[in-house]
């Protein structure tokens, strides 16, 4: 049983690490702000779930698990909210998504 839990937590941790890394690469390589934000925020949530889930399986039933659940809950609440706040601030300030800019270029050759 412990081996099964160990393997499961390793899988979760590895997937979490990969997901976090993909987010980092996306935030660096994507062409404009909104696509970068998309790459960063989606993998942020996914990576947090996977990594913290993996650690939870290692921790077993203890106070640490409860704290981890709290951390995960607050991360899942705050991280998308700050992405949303940032996107709305950027949009209000007049930064336009790259897709829209491309459309404009096609319409007015």
């Amino acid at each position: 049983m412990t081996t099964l839990l160990d393997v499961l937590s390793w899988v979760l941790l590895t997937l979490g690490g990969i997901s976090v890394l993909i987010g980092g690469i996306g935030a660096l390589r994507m062409p404009d702000l909104y696509t970068r934000m998309h790459a960063a925020s989606v993998t942020d949530s996914m990576g947090a779930i996977l990594v913290l889930g993996g650690i939870m399986l290692q921790a077993g039933w203890s106070l640490a698990t409860i704290k981890l659940i709290a951390i995960l809950l607050f991360l899942l609440l705050t991280s998308p909210t700050s992405s949303n706040a940032l996107a709305s601030a950027a949009l209000l300030a007049g930064t336009r998504p790259i897709a829209e800019r491309k459309q404009d270029r096609e319409e007015t050759p």
């Binding site: 609440l77 909210t81 949303n84 706040a85």
Partner: protein, 324 residues
Amino acid sequence: MIVMFGIFLLTLLVITAIAIVRTSNLFVGVMLMGIASLLIAANFFILDAADVALTEAAVGAGISTVLFLSALALTSAQERSKSSNRLLSFTVVAVAALVLIYATFDKPRFGDPLAPVQTHVAPWYLENTPTYIDIPNVVTAVLGSFRGYDTLGEVFVVFTAGIGVLFLLGSGTASSSLPRETNNEGLRHYLIPRVVGRFLIPFILLFGLYVQFHGEYGPGGGFQAGAIVTAAIILYALIEGERRALAALPQRWLLGLMAAGPLIYGAVGIAGIVMGGNFLDYSPLASDPVGGQHLGILLIEIGVGITVTGVLLSIFHAFAARGR
């Protein structure tokens, strides 16, 4: 291996620091300072300083960014003139850095248990905390009891800095003389941050109280708790507007809190004298010396927490009031 992680983080820190100095946009500088604060806190944690990392987290994550941004909103976010005597300054700095690095070759290696720092008073603290004070967190024991004078001084420095800011910027206006409340205050139109923020505030306050009263058993204490509670109320002010935050905790109260903290701290010290001990000696406060130490540390941590909350919040409101 973990030390290697620390080295990587420190390298990132150096890159961040250089980027901070190079950028001419002050807003970007403040953002990079936020990143530097995160890196420093992670490093403190790796270097076994959980209490210090918690303090850096509580102060660096919210309050220092908010203060710098409110100062930028009142001045300007763009550096106009470049720099003076660039070559001369750079030479001075480079030479000084080389001298400092040369000096480090005589320092004991990182983590050396026989270094002079580790063999002086630290072993005494670690050995005697269980007998004299009997709380698990040695940092809190040293902060509250063994070096209580020191902490009293720091509390007064925080208090004085708060008074200084209030002298410079004014203690804010009474809430009755504020312009009429509009529906446009704070981030009220941003529904999602508002809902999530309102949900989070009680949890942050609860966490602040936990840090305050759990400081003897885990990382925490008055300094961290004060900063966390301040962060909660700043969040409230951000999403609901200044007026609501001032209605919840009026300026009068904040001034009272500012003064009450050092008073509580000093009163505990004088209570020690009255009960037959020395100044800031908590042992006579209860029937047995260890119980007295527990009571004394609890009380002075409350004093510290109150001062820090009062001062940081007054500073925040003073900056915000200037913006109107």
